[in-house]
Assembly symmetry: C2
């Protein structure tokens, strides 16, 4: 069974951990359309705070998925871009996830909604 070694493989664990943080994948996806400045990223993403974006970028840098290029200019100017590794992650697994989400996302949201109501009902029993 290749499934079992699939489970035990530590590199797969390391890979799933890349998605462990809420905004990392979003930032990655935002960089898929080309290099961007920090501010552009913030605006493109929308509901992310300054510090959280910094954290996410630090993690992506630490994982070698993005590059940081600082230009010595008047208002500081820093550009972030996907590395080859980051690009391959976006093109492969993230695109697969995107396809899955567009295909099965409704079922997922249905299930989540349904069980969310159940949780509320059970919690009402314990004041």
């Amino acid at each position: 069974m290749d499934r079992d070694e699939f489970v035990a493989d530590c590199r797969v664990r390391a890979a799933t951990d890349l998605f462990a943080h809420t905004w990392d994948s979003v930032a990655l996806a935002a960089l898929a359309s080309g290099p961007r400045r920090r501010r552009e990223l913030r605006d493109a993403i929308g509901g992310i705070s300054d510090k959280v974006l910094t954290d996410a970028l630090h993690r992506l840098l630490a994982n070698g998925l993005i590059d940081r290029r600082a230009h010595a200019e008047a208002p500081p100017r820093v550009e972030y871009a996907l590395t080859g590794l980051g690009q391959s992650l976006v093109d492969g697994p993230m695109k697969a996830l995107g396809r899955w989400a567009t295909e099965h996302g409704d079922k997922l949201l249905d299930a989540q909604e349904k069980s969310a109501r159940n949780v509320i009902e059970t919690r009402v029993d314990q004041p």
Copy 2:
């Protein structure tokens, strides 16, 4: 650009959140080879605690990715199995992730190691 709607799509966000918890994907993968009892899962996974497995199974159930079947037997007997939704997630995105990990996992670990050493060095400066 289909990349941008890819970013903004909330269903994609919901999908990446499925990987947000350390053991969820591991448990899912462990179920890929067929239905298993809770104890079998625990042993198959290895370093997971009882409570954390419960948490993970609850989340997977809440997301409609797995099924729970309890049999009224002598020592309690509960089997967990992938739903159609869970199976599609394993077959699609998780397999893609697995392929990516076997292909690029070394680079990822290299980058992590390298920056980990940097972090340690910087942290030594601040006792």
